[in-house]
């Protein structure tokens, strides 16, 4: 109770018609927790509700034992990195951190020490006097994590943090998240399956405001075992195969194409593959009503 987030029957509407979240139930415990879903699935809405920036319309949420309605207390223990992270462009890195530290109510001495520590942790010490506008995308994201950790939060909420980062920065960022997740709850919201695979032990899949799956990454992989197949086919057969199977991957080799597809029914003479998280995620969506049109498409 003290070290977890409990979400029960959560509902959120935008206006009278659009339901952004529908009866969401989740229990998030210490460590990295991934929230996976397509764009528009409701991830940011859920993140903002947890960060006390949006009102829920139904259900209950407690953050480390504090009801979400007690926003002032919740804000004390939550760090938030929004999807569109930015800071005053003309401020230097250290000035921006100091300003946000003051807003977090941290005393002068503690603030200085913490800023030094965090900038070192995110590898920005050398850039502390640079203006925010002069930082690269990756540096800005690292600064984003540093500012979210200023108040040493029990809960860290990061919303789509790796979008737009190059592979090297993405790996560096994931490692950083894993580092800080040792002693707190970190909720990573993303539509990039690789981020979850590389960092999270537990995850939830959100689609159109509803939770499709909640559990461990390993259990999710288990659901896809024996349901992912691979086959090398002639290119001319592709249109026909697209209609028959839920193709989730294709790789051209001359006149042949190596396809990867989902099926609940075992195939003879077809290679069964070890599933990865992306396969399991796609299977989950497929089982919940997504069509082959969604998976397939023209090559």
């Amino acid at each position: 109770m003290e070290n977890c987030i409990e979400i029960k029957e959560l509902n959120k509407f935008y206006g009278k018609k659009k339901q952004a979240l529908s009866d969401v139930n989740l229990t998030i415990e210490q460590g990295m927790f991934g929230l996976l879903g397509r764009n528009g699935a409701g991830k940011t809405t859920l993140m903002k509700i947890l960060a006390t920036l949006l009102q829920k319309q139904g259900g209950s949420i407690s953050v480390c034992g504090i009801p979400i309605e007690n926003a002032k207390e919740v804000r004390k223990i939550v760090g938030y990195l929004p999807q569109e992270f930015s800071m005053y462009p003309t401020m230097s890195v250290i000035e921006a951190m100091d300003y946000l530290g003051v807003l977090s109510g941290i005393g002068t001495k503690e603030r200085r020490e913490r800023i030094e520590l965090l900038l070192k942790k995110v590898n920005l010490t050398e850039h502390k006097n640079k203006k925010v506008k002069a930082l690269s995308g990756g540096m800005k994201r690292r600064l984003g994590i540093a500012q979210a950790l200023l108040n040493d939060p029990k809960v860290l909420i990061v919303d789509e943090p790796t979008a737009g980062l190059d592979p090297e920065e993405r790996i560096r960022f994931r490692n950083l998240l894993c580092d800080v997740a040792e002693e707190r709850i970190v909720i990573l919201s993303t539509h990039i399956v690789g981020d979850i695979e590389a960092t999270c032990e537990n995850l939830a899949i959100l689609n159109e405001g509803s939770i499709l799956y909640c559990g461990t990454v390993l259990d999710l992989l288990d659901t896809a075992k024996g349901k992912v197949f691979a086959k090398t086919v002639d290119k001319r057969e592709l249109p026909k195969l697209k209609k028959e199977y839920n193709i989730i991957g294709m790789h051209s080799q001359g006149n042949k194409t190596h396809i990867r597809f989902l099926s609940d029914v075992p195939f003879q003479n077809v290679e069964s593959c070890e599933p990865n998280i992306e396969d399991a995620y796609m299977l989950c969506l497929w089982h919940n009503g997504e069509t082959t049109e969604f998976f397939g498409g023209d090559v």
């Binding site: 938030y80 005053y88 003051v102 807003l103 109510g105 002068t108």
Partner: protein, 442 residues
């Protein structure tokens, strides 16, 4: 600590640099930065002491009546209802009301004044019906020259219309107020304007009395500080709204809203800090400038008792409420709409208030006056006479400013909790209005 950070943020903004430039330009261009050329000295016998407005009924009554009668005949009244010139033409009904007023003042009947049925009663009088299509000029001997359709005729006006000797000054002022109301306000017959019919030379005794009052009540420096505030107040009543709007829009421009909303600090602390940061950032250079200006005359009054705190007292007491209301309106409407509409709202108030005050340049005339004026180094007695009204006005303006700040805190907290969207209904409404206007324009 937050206040210091917010002050720093405000001081290092482009808007503040623009404000400082405007403040300096105003102070220098209006000659209130150096008073060494205008030293208040003890009057000497035989000097010219200038002229002054003085409420002398014997001067005011005939002159104002004559002006009213002439405007009545032409049915054209000069007025400045909200500071702008307006040529008022009265309807028949209002013209009759005006005739009643003139009738009370002159003992001439309303019918005679309006020219109805005069010929049937008096054979030797010529019937003259005047309307807006005729031009006229009253001659010194009482004759009137009327021109119409390029035809000029001179007639003898047998109708004597002069101010009745029976009318008391109080009754006269009541009539003038009614006349001003019929015209729509801002006419030559409003209470303030009546004084303009009565300029008299300042006597030696008056000059000495005025000097002694400046010496005892103002201790010289007060007079200079007041004059400084009169000019600088004009821009300080409006420019802070720009700074406040810029401060509030800065978060949105930098996409920092969510980052700040999620912090521990309370909405009250943040908004109040930002508000007073703007007020302090504006007042700090103003107080410094007031001291620079005031100190230019300190040497001239060495050995005399002068008030070194006068610049501080006047800038805080006189100017700060104007700064506070401008900043408060700026913050409230910007947080509410996330648009710079506050500039238009406050700018309109400032513009009307300023123009309404053009005719008088002194005193407080309504409790919600934004910019008090006292466009003179002297006239201390007038200032002292109006001091209580000024104090009430300044306290009221300060109170309203603080109410706006409280409302801003509430709005900010609602936005922070997601109860009032950043792109809420008000903003959409404003955007919708703008779209409709641009469509109709195209």
């Amino acid at each position: 600590m937050l206040l210091v950070k917010e002050i720093k943020k405000t001081l290092f903004s482009i808007t503040f640099v623009v404000f400082m430039t405007a403040l300096l330009v105003m102070a220098v261009s209006q000659d209130v930065i150096d008073f060494s050329y205008d030293i208040i000295t003890e009057p000497k016998l035989g000097e010219d002491y200038g002229i002054q407005q003085k409420e002398i009924p014997e001067l005011i009554m005939p002159a104002a009546f004559s002006s009213l009668y002439n405007e009545f005949i032409a049915n054209e009244y000069i007025a400045y209802p909200i500071g702008f010139y307006k040529n008022v033409k009265l309807s028949e009904a209002d013209r009759e009301k005006m005739a009643e007023i003139i009738s009370v003042l002159s003992d001439v009947s309303v019918d005679d004044l309006l020219g109805y049925d005069v010929s049937s009663n008096t054979q030797d009088k010529m019937v003259i019906t005047l309307d807006g299509s005729q031009n006229y000029a009253v001659q010194e001997d009482g004759s009137i020259i009327i021109s119409k359709d390029d035809e000029v005729s001179e007639i003898k006006d047998n109708m004597e219309v002069t101010l009745s000797a029976e009318i008391s000054y109080e009754e006269f002022k009541k009539c003038m107020k009614r006349a001003d109301d019929i015209i729509g306000g801002g006419s030559n017959y409003s209470e303030d304007s009546l004084l303009r019919y009565s300029y008299v030379a300042v006597t030696y005794e008056d000059a000495v009395k005025s000097y002694q009052l400046i010496e005892s009540a103002d201790k010289f420096t007060g007079a200079y500080a007041r004059f400084f505030c009169d000019y600088v107040g004009v821009i300080l009543s409006v420019l802070p709204v720009f700074i406040a709007v810029a401060v509030c829009l800065k978060d949105r421009r930098a996409k920092m809203n969510d980052l700040i909303y999620a912090r521990k600090t309370s909405s009250f602390r943040l908004m109040v800090s930002r508000y007073f940061a703007v007020v302090i950032a504006v007042m700090l250079p103003t107080v410094i400038l007031a001291y620079i200006s005031n100190s230019t005359v300190w040497g001239e009054y060495s050995g005399m008792s002068i008030d070194y705190l006068a610049p501080l007292k006047y800038t805080i007491g006189w100017l700060m409420p104007s700064v506070m209301i401008a900043a408060a309106i700026g913050m409230f409407f910007t947080e509410l709409t996330e648009t710079p509409i506050a500039i238009a709202i406050h700018g309109l108030w400032w513009f009307i208030d300023l123009n309404a005050g053009v005719n008088r340049l002194r005193g407080i005339h309504n409790l919600f006056e934004l910019t008090p004026r006292h466009n003179s180094l002297r006239n201390t007695q007038i200032f002292l006479d109006e001091f209580n009204t000024l104090t009430t006005n300044r306290l009221l303006i300060t109170g309203v400013a603080l109410l706006f700040v409280a409302a801003t805190v509430i709005v900010y907290e609602q936005k922070r909790r997601g109860k009032l969207g950043s792109y809420g209904k008000i903003k959409n409404y404003i955007a919708g209005m703008a779209n409709r206007k641009s469509k109709s324009a195209s």
